[in-house]
């Protein structure tokens, strides 16, 4: 692969954008937030973040935003990942290794089923709303 220029990157984006317009995308409504502080990095959060991006790309999911954040305070359960999406409660998963990241994309995001073994926290506000 030759060294890409910024112009080529822009062109590539335009091509991809046109491809995307053909697909039906309803805004960026799914958020994945990965804890990336010292504790997260030491526990392998970088590999987890890569695994999310690779799997989301493989599944052709474009309505997803992937963000990093600092320490969420659950160092013992790193890597930690928060998922927010319509139709599912906001949830924080713990001990998310790359395999679990793939599981989260396939089961939680696509299948709308919780991954019970990795649930760490479920914000009380969600329970109250119901």
């Amino acid at each position: 692969m030759a060294k890409m220029t910024l112009e080529e990157l822009k062109k590539l984006r335009e091509t991809k954008k046109r491809e995307l317009e053909k697909r039906e995308v309803t805004g960026k409504d799914i958020e994945i937030i990965v804890g990336m502080a010292t504790c997260g990095i030491a526990a392998g959060a970088k590999q987890t973040l890569s695994a999310f991006l690779n799997e989301l790309e493989a599944q052709n999911l474009s309505n997803v935003v992937v963000r990093q954040t600092g320490c969420m305070g659950y160092c013992y359960a790193e890597p930690t990942v928060e998922i927010r999406m319509p139709g599912m409660p906001d949830i924080i998963y713990g001990k998310v290794d790359p395999e679990t990241a793939v599981k989260i994309v396939r089961k939680h995001i696509l299948g709308k089923v919780l991954i019970n073994d990795h649930i760490l926290d479920k914000p009380a506000a969600d329970i109250m709303k119901k």
Binding site: M4, L6, L9, V65, R67
Partner: protein, 194 residues
């Protein structure tokens, strides 16, 4: 301890961003078996007392996690550099910013692997915020420069999966364009035989 050198670099840059740095520069130089890294930020900076706390694994300013008694980011790096006989320096001034410098011999048996630098750079560049980051990577005679604002402009955003996928492609092409012979690649097995 962290697994790769990329992990240490990412941790230091994250410190800079959490210190409110609007402009951060990351210089990574790989020459003849040595790696030199310098991260300069324009964050809130530290007093000499705060620096010594930051270097103490059992020290923390308590602002992020009031009940916590440890802070391991910089101590991990110092431990790693000491183990391989490298150099570590930190300079900081309250209100102005912080500079972290380290240099290590890549051929030392205890030197961590570089890791996937393209992936490390992608994660550094996509950390959320409106800050600017300038990264300059050199290997032997070759080099490339990355400017967060330019990449954001080219990609539209740095958060969506599509942008991050294109960014990966771009960064891998930069990394792959570097000369391969710049640094001796010593395999563990060969070292054992010596």
């Amino acid at each position: 301890m962290h697994y790769s050198i990329g992990d240490y670099i990412q941790d230091i840059v994250q410190n800079a961003l959490e210190a409110g740095s609007a402009y951060t520069t990351v210089e990574i130089q790989e020459t003849a078996g040595f790696l030199t890294v310098q991260v300069n930020d324009t964050g809130k900076g530290m007093s000499p007392e705060e620096i010594s706390k930051a270097l103490d694994p059992y020290g923390t300013n308590g602002s992020k996690h009031p009940k916590r008694k440890v802070g391991l980011g910089l101590p991990f790096l110092v431990q790693c550099i000491e183990a391989v006989g490298g150099e570590f320096r930190i300079q900081s001034e309250p209100g102005k910013g912080t500079s972290v410098y380290f240099r290590l011999p890549l051929t030392h048996i205890d030197a961590p692997p570089l890791g996937n630098l393209a992936e490390t750079f992608r994660q550094i560049l996509t950390y959320p915020g409106t800050h600017e980051i300038r990264m300059h990577r050199t290997r032997g005679k070759d080099s490339y420069t990355l400017l967060r604002s330019e990449l954001k402009e080219a990609l539209g955003d740095l958060e969506s999966v599509d942008s991050q996928a294109l960014l990966k492609e771009y960064l891998e092409s930069q990394e792959n364009s570097l000369e391969k012979e710049g640094v001796p690649q010593i395999e563990g097995e060969k070292l054992w035989q010596k």
